[in-house]
Protein backbone atom coordinates (compact mmCIF):
# COMPACT_ATOMS: atom_id res chain seq x y z
CA UNK A 1 0.00 0.00 0.00
CA UNK A 2 1.11 3.54 -0.80
CA UNK A 3 2.62 5.56 2.07
CA UNK A 4 0.37 8.50 1.25
CA UNK A 5 -2.60 6.49 2.41
CA UNK A 6 -1.16 6.10 5.92
CA UNK A 7 -2.24 8.86 8.24
CA UNK A 8 -0.17 10.23 11.07
CA UNK A 9 -1.05 9.03 14.54
CA UNK A 10 -4.50 10.61 14.63
CA UNK A 11 -7.75 9.27 13.24
CA UNK A 12 -9.13 11.64 10.59
CA UNK A 13 -12.66 12.34 9.42
CA UNK A 14 -13.59 13.90 6.07
CA UNK A 15 -17.12 14.72 4.97
CA UNK A 16 -18.52 12.78 7.91
CA UNK A 17 -16.61 9.62 6.96
CA UNK A 18 -13.83 8.03 9.06
CA UNK A 19 -10.73 7.56 6.90
CA UNK A 20 -8.89 4.25 6.98
CA UNK A 21 -8.27 1.06 5.06
CA UNK A 22 -9.80 -2.37 4.59
CA UNK A 23 -8.14 -5.71 3.90
CA UNK A 24 -8.73 -7.03 0.39
CA UNK A 25 -8.62 -10.62 1.72
CA UNK A 26 -10.35 -10.77 5.11
CA UNK A 27 -12.12 -7.37 5.28
CA UNK A 28 -10.45 -6.31 8.55
CA UNK A 29 -10.83 -2.52 8.87
CA UNK A 30 -8.21 -0.14 10.29
CA UNK A 31 -8.25 3.58 11.14
CA UNK A 32 -5.74 5.13 10.82
CA UNK A 33 -4.84 2.94 7.85
CA UNK A 34 -2.18 0.24 8.17
CA UNK A 35 0.21 -0.84 5.40
CA UNK A 36 -0.89 -4.46 5.63
CA UNK A 37 -3.66 -6.25 7.47
CA UNK A 38 -3.06 -6.84 11.21
CA UNK A 39 -5.45 -9.79 10.95
CA UNK A 40 -3.99 -11.77 8.05
CA UNK A 41 -1.13 -9.76 6.54
CA UNK A 42 -3.13 -9.16 3.38
CA UNK A 43 -3.03 -6.08 1.13
CA UNK A 44 -5.09 -3.08 2.21
CA UNK A 45 -7.07 -0.65 0.14
CA UNK A 46 -8.06 2.87 1.10
CA UNK A 47 -11.52 2.94 2.57
CA UNK A 48 -13.79 5.19 4.58
CA UNK A 49 -16.36 4.26 7.15
CA UNK A 50 -19.62 5.53 8.59
CA UNK A 51 -19.13 7.71 11.66
CA UNK A 52 -21.91 5.87 13.48
CA UNK A 53 -21.95 2.56 15.27
CA UNK A 54 -22.53 0.89 18.62
CA UNK A 55 -20.79 0.92 21.97
CA UNK A 56 -18.68 -2.21 22.68
CA UNK A 57 -17.75 -1.13 26.20
CA UNK A 58 -17.47 2.07 28.24
CA UNK A 59 -15.95 3.20 31.53
CA UNK A 60 -16.01 6.26 33.75
CA UNK A 61 -12.41 7.17 34.57
CA UNK A 62 -11.50 8.97 37.80
CA UNK A 63 -7.96 9.82 36.75
CA UNK A 64 -7.12 12.92 34.70
CA UNK A 65 -7.47 11.87 31.04
CA UNK A 66 -5.55 14.15 28.69
CA UNK A 67 -5.22 16.71 31.49
CA UNK A 68 -9.00 16.95 31.91
CA UNK A 69 -10.63 17.17 35.32
CA UNK A 70 -12.09 13.74 36.24
CA UNK A 71 -14.38 12.00 35.70
CA UNK A 72 -14.06 11.32 31.99
CA UNK A 73 -15.88 8.66 30.05
CA UNK A 74 -13.99 6.50 27.55
CA UNK A 75 -15.76 4.13 25.18
CA UNK A 76 -14.95 1.64 22.44
CA UNK A 77 -17.27 2.28 19.51
CA UNK A 78 -17.68 -0.35 16.77
CA UNK A 79 -18.36 1.63 13.60
CA UNK A 80 -21.00 0.08 11.33
CA UNK A 81 -19.04 -2.24 9.04
CA UNK A 82 -15.88 -0.48 10.19
CA UNK A 83 -13.10 -0.51 12.81
CA UNK A 84 -13.38 -0.28 16.59
CA UNK A 85 -12.37 3.18 17.83
CA UNK A 86 -11.54 4.33 21.35
CA UNK A 87 -13.34 7.62 21.97
CA UNK A 88 -13.78 10.24 24.64
CA UNK A 89 -17.50 10.09 25.37
CA UNK A 90 -19.60 13.20 25.82
CA UNK A 91 -22.22 12.66 28.52
CA UNK A 92 -23.05 9.88 30.96
CA UNK A 93 -21.41 6.48 30.55
CA UNK A 94 -23.31 4.58 27.84
CA UNK A 95 -24.17 0.87 27.95
CA UNK A 96 -22.95 -1.86 25.63
CA UNK A 97 -24.95 -1.80 22.41
CA UNK A 98 -25.97 1.89 22.65
CA UNK A 99 -25.90 3.78 19.35
CA UNK A 100 -23.02 6.23 18.93
CA UNK A 101 -21.74 8.93 16.62
CA UNK A 102 -18.03 9.78 16.44
CA UNK A 103 -16.13 12.89 15.39
CA UNK A 104 -12.54 14.05 15.71
CA UNK A 105 -11.46 17.18 17.60
CA UNK A 106 -7.78 18.17 17.62
CA UNK A 107 -6.85 14.70 16.40
CA UNK A 108 -8.73 12.94 19.20
CA UNK A 109 -11.79 10.77 18.63
CA UNK A 110 -14.89 11.85 20.52
CA UNK A 111 -18.27 10.17 20.60
CA UNK A 112 -21.76 10.77 21.82
CA UNK A 113 -25.16 9.16 21.73
CA UNK A 114 -26.48 9.15 18.17
CA UNK A 115 -29.50 11.40 17.91
Amino acid sequence: MNDQLVSPYAVSVADGRVMGARCTLCSTATAPATHRCPGCGGAMERSDFASTGRVFSATEVWLPVGGLEPPSVLAYVDLADGPRLLARWRGERPDRGDRAHVDVVDGIVHAEEER
Partner: protein
Protein backbone atom coordinates in the same frame (compact mmCIF):
# COMPACT_ATOMS: atom_id res chain seq x y z
CA UNK B 1 18.79 -31.24 26.84
CA UNK B 2 16.50 -29.22 29.07
CA UNK B 3 17.32 -25.91 30.68
CA UNK B 4 17.15 -25.69 34.46
CA UNK B 5 16.83 -22.70 36.75
CA UNK B 6 19.76 -23.23 39.08
CA UNK B 7 19.63 -20.01 41.06
CA UNK B 8 17.20 -17.18 41.88
CA UNK B 9 17.30 -13.81 43.57
CA UNK B 10 14.96 -10.93 44.23
CA UNK B 11 15.31 -7.42 45.64
CA UNK B 12 12.40 -6.44 47.87
CA UNK B 13 9.74 -4.67 45.80
CA UNK B 14 8.92 -1.17 46.94
CA UNK B 15 10.09 2.39 46.55
CA UNK B 16 13.75 2.56 45.55
CA UNK B 17 13.69 5.99 43.91
CA UNK B 18 17.22 7.10 44.73
CA UNK B 19 19.01 3.78 44.23
CA UNK B 20 21.19 3.28 41.15
CA UNK B 21 19.62 0.75 38.83
CA UNK B 22 22.88 -1.24 38.83
CA UNK B 23 22.69 -1.52 42.63
CA UNK B 24 19.01 -2.52 42.63
CA UNK B 25 19.80 -5.20 40.03
CA UNK B 26 22.77 -6.52 42.04
CA UNK B 27 20.50 -7.17 45.02
CA UNK B 28 18.80 -9.79 42.80
CA UNK B 29 21.78 -10.96 40.73
CA UNK B 30 24.09 -11.69 43.69
CA UNK B 31 21.79 -14.20 45.45
CA UNK B 32 20.91 -15.77 42.07
CA UNK B 33 24.60 -16.41 41.28
CA UNK B 34 25.22 -17.63 44.82
CA UNK B 35 22.35 -20.15 44.88
CA UNK B 36 23.47 -21.42 41.47
CA UNK B 37 27.10 -21.61 42.60
CA UNK B 38 28.12 -19.62 39.54
CA UNK B 39 30.81 -16.94 39.23
CA UNK B 40 30.19 -13.97 36.88
CA UNK B 41 32.94 -15.16 34.53
CA UNK B 42 30.89 -18.30 33.75
CA UNK B 43 27.92 -16.32 32.43
CA UNK B 44 27.84 -16.07 28.65
CA UNK B 45 24.43 -14.52 27.95
CA UNK B 46 22.52 -11.77 29.78
CA UNK B 47 18.93 -10.74 29.08
CA UNK B 48 17.43 -7.77 30.92
CA UNK B 49 13.65 -7.35 30.83
CA UNK B 50 12.79 -3.68 31.30
CA UNK B 51 10.28 -1.20 29.94
CA UNK B 52 11.50 2.20 31.14
CA UNK B 53 15.21 1.27 31.09
CA UNK B 54 17.36 3.87 29.39
CA UNK B 55 19.65 3.27 26.42
CA UNK B 56 22.49 0.97 27.49
CA UNK B 57 20.78 -0.19 30.68
CA UNK B 58 21.61 -3.87 30.13
CA UNK B 59 25.30 -3.15 29.57
CA UNK B 60 25.59 -0.92 32.65
CA UNK B 61 23.87 -3.53 34.83
CA UNK B 62 26.12 -6.26 33.40
CA UNK B 63 29.29 -4.20 33.96
CA UNK B 64 28.48 -3.50 37.61
CA UNK B 65 27.80 -7.21 38.18
CA UNK B 66 30.96 -8.36 36.39
CA UNK B 67 28.91 -10.04 33.67
CA UNK B 68 31.09 -8.61 30.92
CA UNK B 69 32.10 -10.08 27.59
CA UNK B 70 28.75 -11.81 27.12
CA UNK B 71 26.12 -9.95 25.11
CA UNK B 72 23.85 -8.07 27.53
CA UNK B 73 20.58 -7.32 25.78
CA UNK B 74 17.52 -5.36 26.89
CA UNK B 75 14.19 -7.05 26.19
CA UNK B 76 11.00 -5.01 25.97
CA UNK B 77 7.65 -6.77 25.75
CA UNK B 78 5.59 -4.44 27.97
CA UNK B 79 4.50 -6.21 31.18
CA UNK B 80 5.85 -9.55 29.86
CA UNK B 81 9.42 -8.24 29.38
CA UNK B 82 10.87 -10.29 32.25
CA UNK B 83 9.11 -13.50 31.24
CA UNK B 84 10.42 -13.16 27.69
CA UNK B 85 13.92 -12.56 29.10
CA UNK B 86 13.67 -15.89 30.97
CA UNK B 87 12.58 -17.64 27.78
CA UNK B 88 15.48 -16.14 25.86
CA UNK B 89 17.87 -17.42 28.54
CA UNK B 90 16.28 -20.87 28.23
CA UNK B 91 16.62 -20.79 24.42
CA UNK B 92 20.27 -19.69 24.67
CA UNK B 93 21.09 -22.63 26.96
CA UNK B 94 19.02 -25.26 25.12
CA UNK B 95 20.52 -24.31 21.76
CA UNK B 96 24.02 -24.62 23.20
CA UNK B 97 24.86 -20.98 22.48
CA UNK B 98 25.29 -20.40 26.20
CA UNK B 99 26.39 -22.70 29.02
CA UNK B 100 25.07 -20.27 31.59
CA UNK B 101 22.57 -17.47 30.97
CA UNK B 102 21.18 -14.91 33.38
CA UNK B 103 17.74 -13.33 33.00
CA UNK B 104 17.15 -10.16 34.98
CA UNK B 105 13.87 -8.30 35.40
CA UNK B 106 14.37 -4.70 36.36
CA UNK B 107 12.27 -1.58 36.73
CA UNK B 108 12.57 1.70 38.49
CA UNK B 109 9.33 3.54 37.90
CA UNK B 110 8.54 5.50 41.07
CA UNK B 111 10.87 8.20 39.74
CA UNK B 112 8.91 8.58 36.48
CA UNK B 113 5.34 7.62 37.37
CA UNK B 114 3.18 8.71 40.29
CA UNK B 115 -0.12 6.97 39.50
CA UNK B 116 -1.12 5.49 36.14
CA UNK B 117 1.59 5.28 33.47
CA UNK B 118 1.09 8.21 31.04
CA UNK B 119 -0.45 6.86 27.81
CA UNK B 120 1.78 6.75 24.74
CA UNK B 121 1.02 9.69 22.42
CA UNK B 122 2.18 7.84 19.27
CA UNK B 123 -0.50 5.22 19.91
CA UNK B 124 -3.92 6.15 18.56
CA UNK B 125 -5.73 5.09 21.73
CA UNK B 126 -2.99 6.51 23.91
CA UNK B 127 -3.62 9.88 22.25
CA UNK B 128 -7.21 9.77 23.44
CA UNK B 129 -5.96 9.20 27.00
CA UNK B 130 -6.38 5.45 27.41
CA UNK B 131 -4.48 4.78 30.65
CA UNK B 132 -3.97 1.10 31.56
CA UNK B 133 -6.59 1.01 34.36
CA UNK B 134 -9.16 2.35 31.88
CA UNK B 135 -8.09 -0.21 29.29
CA UNK B 136 -8.71 -3.03 31.78
CA UNK B 137 -11.89 -1.34 33.04
CA UNK B 138 -13.29 -1.48 29.50
CA UNK B 139 -12.55 -5.24 29.53
CA UNK B 140 -14.16 -5.57 32.95
CA UNK B 141 -17.31 -3.68 31.97
CA UNK B 142 -17.72 -5.96 28.94
CA UNK B 143 -17.04 -9.15 30.92
CA UNK B 144 -19.36 -8.36 33.83
CA UNK B 145 -22.14 -7.39 31.44
CA UNK B 146 -21.68 -10.33 29.05
CA UNK B 147 -21.41 -13.00 31.74
CA UNK B 148 -23.79 -11.26 34.20
CA UNK B 149 -21.17 -11.31 36.94
CA UNK B 150 -21.50 -9.21 40.11
CA UNK B 151 -18.57 -6.72 40.34
CA UNK B 152 -18.16 -7.85 43.96
CA UNK B 153 -17.17 -11.32 42.74
CA UNK B 154 -14.45 -9.77 40.56
CA UNK B 155 -13.17 -7.82 43.58
CA UNK B 156 -12.53 -11.12 45.39
CA UNK B 157 -9.37 -11.47 43.27
CA UNK B 158 -7.88 -8.54 45.20
CA UNK B 159 -9.00 -9.91 48.58
CA UNK B 160 -7.26 -13.22 47.82
CA UNK B 161 -4.08 -11.70 46.41
CA UNK B 162 -3.67 -9.02 49.10
CA UNK B 163 -4.20 -11.70 51.74
CA UNK B 164 -1.53 -13.91 50.12
CA UNK B 165 0.88 -10.98 49.86
CA UNK B 166 0.43 -10.17 53.54
CA UNK B 167 1.98 -13.58 54.28
CA UNK B 168 4.80 -13.14 51.76
CA UNK B 169 7.79 -11.05 52.92
CA UNK B 170 8.97 -10.72 49.28
CA UNK B 171 5.85 -8.72 48.38
CA UNK B 172 5.07 -5.07 49.04
CA UNK B 173 4.23 -4.72 52.69
CA UNK B 174 0.54 -3.89 52.64
CA UNK B 175 -2.27 -5.18 54.86
CA UNK B 176 -4.81 -7.81 53.87
CA UNK B 177 -8.19 -6.23 53.02
CA UNK B 178 -11.79 -7.26 53.45
CA UNK B 179 -14.14 -7.52 50.48
CA UNK B 180 -15.93 -4.38 51.70
CA UNK B 181 -12.66 -2.46 51.86
CA UNK B 182 -11.74 -3.48 48.31
CA UNK B 183 -15.16 -2.65 46.89
CA UNK B 184 -15.47 0.64 48.83
CA UNK B 185 -11.96 1.89 48.02
CA UNK B 186 -11.52 4.87 45.69
CA UNK B 187 -12.89 4.40 42.17
CA UNK B 188 -10.16 4.53 39.50
CA UNK B 189 -11.96 3.40 36.35
CA UNK B 190 -15.46 1.99 36.78
CA UNK B 191 -15.72 -0.86 37.93
CA UNK B 192 -12.07 -1.03 39.11
CA UNK B 193 -11.40 0.47 42.53
CA UNK B 194 -7.86 1.39 43.60
CA UNK B 195 -7.34 -1.83 45.59
CA UNK B 196 -8.09 -3.79 42.39
CA UNK B 197 -5.12 -2.16 40.63
CA UNK B 198 -1.46 -3.19 40.94
CA UNK B 199 0.61 -0.57 42.77
CA UNK B 200 3.47 1.28 41.08
CA UNK B 201 6.76 0.10 42.54
CA UNK B 202 10.44 -0.51 41.85
CA UNK B 203 12.02 -3.93 41.86
CA UNK B 204 14.50 -6.43 40.50
CA UNK B 205 14.58 -10.21 40.16
CA UNK B 206 17.09 -12.57 38.55
CA UNK B 207 17.39 -16.23 37.57
CA UNK B 208 20.42 -18.26 36.46
CA UNK B 209 19.68 -20.75 33.68
CA UNK B 210 22.02 -23.72 33.08
CA UNK B 211 21.75 -27.19 31.49
CA UNK B 212 19.84 -29.76 33.55
CA UNK B 213 22.33 -31.86 35.53
CA UNK B 214 20.04 -34.85 35.93
CA UNK B 215 19.94 -34.61 39.71
CA UNK B 216 16.88 -34.68 41.96
CA UNK B 217 15.31 -31.45 43.21
CA UNK B 218 16.22 -29.44 40.13
CA UNK B 219 13.70 -27.02 38.62
CA UNK B 220 13.58 -27.41 34.84
CA UNK B 221 11.79 -25.26 32.28
CA UNK B 222 9.73 -28.02 30.68
CA UNK B 223 7.92 -25.84 28.18
CA UNK B 224 7.71 -22.20 27.18
CA UNK B 225 5.93 -20.09 24.59
CA UNK B 226 5.54 -16.47 23.58
CA UNK B 227 2.62 -15.51 21.36
CA UNK B 228 2.58 -12.19 19.55
CA UNK B 229 -0.49 -9.99 19.17
CA UNK B 230 -2.97 -10.24 16.32
CA UNK B 231 -5.73 -7.91 15.16
CA UNK B 232 -8.29 -6.92 17.78
CA UNK B 233 -11.21 -7.11 17.42
CA UNK B 234 -10.74 -10.63 16.09
CA UNK B 235 -13.14 -13.43 15.28
CA UNK B 236 -14.54 -13.78 18.80
CA UNK B 237 -16.47 -10.93 20.46
CA UNK B 238 -14.41 -10.47 23.63
CA UNK B 239 -12.04 -7.99 25.27
CA UNK B 240 -8.42 -7.71 24.10
CA UNK B 241 -6.13 -10.30 25.72
CA UNK B 242 -7.74 -13.73 25.91
CA UNK B 243 -7.13 -14.66 22.26
CA UNK B 244 -3.42 -13.87 22.64
CA UNK B 245 -3.20 -15.92 25.86
CA UNK B 246 -5.03 -18.83 24.16
CA UNK B 247 -2.45 -18.85 21.36
CA UNK B 248 0.39 -18.96 23.89
CA UNK B 249 -1.45 -21.75 25.74
CA UNK B 250 -1.90 -23.77 22.53
CA UNK B 251 1.83 -23.47 21.78
CA UNK B 252 2.95 -24.36 25.28
CA UNK B 253 0.51 -27.27 25.69
CA UNK B 254 1.78 -28.71 22.42
CA UNK B 255 5.35 -28.35 23.70
CA UNK B 256 4.34 -29.88 27.03
CA UNK B 257 2.14 -32.67 25.70
CA UNK B 258 -0.45 -32.03 28.39
CA UNK B 259 -2.81 -29.33 29.59
CA UNK B 260 -1.94 -26.40 31.82
CA UNK B 261 -4.42 -27.63 34.41
CA UNK B 262 -1.83 -30.27 35.35
CA UNK B 263 -0.15 -27.48 37.36
CA UNK B 264 -0.05 -27.51 41.15
CA UNK B 265 0.48 -23.76 41.40
CA UNK B 266 0.00 -20.89 38.97
CA UNK B 267 1.28 -17.30 38.88
CA UNK B 268 -0.69 -15.19 36.38
CA UNK B 269 -0.87 -11.58 35.25
CA UNK B 270 -3.29 -9.83 37.62
CA UNK B 271 -2.29 -6.23 36.89
CA UNK B 272 -5.99 -5.57 37.56
CA UNK B 273 -8.55 -7.97 39.06
CA UNK B 274 -10.29 -8.54 35.72
CA UNK B 275 -6.96 -9.65 34.23
CA UNK B 276 -6.72 -12.66 36.53
CA UNK B 277 -10.25 -13.81 35.64
CA UNK B 278 -9.77 -13.43 31.88
CA UNK B 279 -6.39 -15.18 32.07
CA UNK B 280 -7.57 -18.14 34.16
CA UNK B 281 -10.28 -18.76 31.57
CA UNK B 282 -8.00 -18.25 28.55
CA UNK B 283 -5.52 -20.74 30.05
CA UNK B 284 -8.28 -23.36 30.25
CA UNK B 285 -8.27 -23.41 34.06
CA UNK B 286 -11.98 -22.47 34.20
CA UNK B 287 -14.81 -22.36 31.66
CA UNK B 288 -15.63 -18.92 30.18
CA UNK B 289 -17.53 -16.75 32.63
CA UNK B 290 -17.14 -19.24 35.49
CA UNK B 291 -13.84 -18.13 37.07
CA UNK B 292 -15.58 -15.69 39.47
CA UNK B 293 -17.84 -18.46 40.82
CA UNK B 294 -14.90 -20.84 41.28
CA UNK B 295 -12.95 -18.06 43.00
CA UNK B 296 -15.88 -17.41 45.35
CA UNK B 297 -15.89 -21.13 46.19
CA UNK B 298 -12.20 -20.91 47.17
CA UNK B 299 -10.81 -23.02 44.31
CA UNK B 300 -7.97 -20.56 43.60
CA UNK B 301 -7.00 -19.96 47.23
CA UNK B 302 -3.83 -21.38 48.78
CA UNK B 303 -5.76 -24.41 50.07
CA UNK B 304 -7.97 -24.66 46.98
CA UNK B 305 -7.96 -27.01 43.99
CA UNK B 306 -5.54 -24.85 42.00
CA UNK B 307 -3.80 -22.04 43.91
CA UNK B 308 -3.51 -18.92 41.71
CA UNK B 309 -1.04 -16.20 42.70
CA UNK B 310 -0.16 -17.54 46.15
CA UNK B 311 2.70 -14.99 46.14
CA UNK B 312 0.16 -12.17 46.11
CA UNK B 313 0.39 -11.62 42.38
CA UNK B 314 0.97 -8.21 40.87
CA UNK B 315 -1.78 -6.65 42.98
CA UNK B 316 -0.11 -7.86 46.15
CA UNK B 317 3.58 -7.85 45.19
CA UNK B 318 3.61 -4.61 43.21
CA UNK B 319 4.22 -4.42 39.47
CA UNK B 320 7.59 -3.00 38.44
CA UNK B 321 6.91 -3.84 34.80
CA UNK B 322 10.09 -5.54 33.60
CA UNK B 323 10.77 -7.15 36.98
CA UNK B 324 7.37 -8.87 37.19
CA UNK B 325 7.88 -11.89 34.92
CA UNK B 326 11.18 -12.81 36.57
CA UNK B 327 9.64 -12.34 40.03
CA UNK B 328 6.78 -14.67 39.04
CA UNK B 329 9.43 -17.20 37.97
CA UNK B 330 11.34 -16.79 41.25
CA UNK B 331 8.16 -17.30 43.30
CA UNK B 332 7.33 -20.44 41.32
CA UNK B 333 10.88 -21.78 41.72
CA UNK B 334 10.60 -21.26 45.50
CA UNK B 335 7.27 -23.15 45.49
CA UNK B 336 8.79 -26.11 43.64
CA UNK B 337 11.79 -26.19 45.96
CA UNK B 338 9.53 -26.05 49.01
CA UNK B 339 11.12 -22.75 50.00
CA UNK B 340 8.19 -20.35 49.63
CA UNK B 341 7.77 -19.91 53.39
CA UNK B 342 4.32 -19.05 54.72
CA UNK B 343 2.77 -19.10 51.23
CA UNK B 344 4.12 -22.59 50.40
CA UNK B 345 1.74 -24.95 48.55
CA UNK B 346 2.53 -28.39 49.97
CA UNK B 347 4.09 -30.82 47.51
CA UNK B 348 4.02 -28.53 44.46
CA UNK B 349 5.72 -30.33 41.56
CA UNK B 350 4.61 -28.27 38.54
CA UNK B 351 4.23 -24.50 38.36
CA UNK B 352 3.01 -22.28 35.53
CA UNK B 353 3.91 -18.62 34.98
CA UNK B 354 1.82 -16.44 32.66
CA UNK B 355 2.41 -12.79 31.81
CA UNK B 356 0.46 -10.56 29.46
CA UNK B 357 2.01 -7.53 27.81
CA UNK B 358 -0.48 -5.07 26.32
CA UNK B 359 -1.07 -1.47 25.39
CA UNK B 360 -0.54 -1.31 21.62
CA UNK B 361 -3.97 -0.47 20.23
CA UNK B 362 -5.73 -2.63 17.66
CA UNK B 363 -4.01 -5.81 18.91
CA UNK B 364 -5.23 -8.55 21.24
CA UNK B 365 -1.97 -8.10 23.17
CA UNK B 366 1.64 -7.10 22.59
CA UNK B 367 2.70 -10.59 23.67
CA UNK B 368 1.48 -13.32 26.00
CA UNK B 369 4.20 -15.48 27.58
CA UNK B 370 3.83 -18.78 29.43
CA UNK B 371 6.47 -20.88 31.22
CA UNK B 372 5.99 -24.36 32.68
CA UNK B 373 8.42 -25.30 35.46
CA UNK B 374 8.78 -28.82 36.86
CA UNK B 375 10.64 -30.16 39.84
CA UNK B 376 12.68 -33.21 38.90
Amino acid sequence: MRAAISGVGMAPFGRHTDVRLEDLAWRAIEPALMTAGVEPEHVDAVFVGTVFGRVGVASRVARAAGLTGAPALAVEAACASGTVAVQMAKDAVESGRARCAVAIGLEQMTNVVSSAIPPEPTDVEGRAGLVMPAMYALSARWYLDHHRVDPVDMARVAVKNLSNAADNPRSLQRPARSLDEVVQSRMIADPLTVLQCCPVSDGAAAVVVTPERGESDEVVITAAAVAGGRAWPGEVAEPWGPACVRRARDLVEKDLGSRLDTADVVEVHDAFTIGELLTIEAMGLAPDGIAPALLRDGEFGRDGRLPVNPSGGLIGRGHPLGATGVAQTVETWLQLRGAAGDVQIAGAQRGVVETMGGGASGLDGNVAAILVLDRT
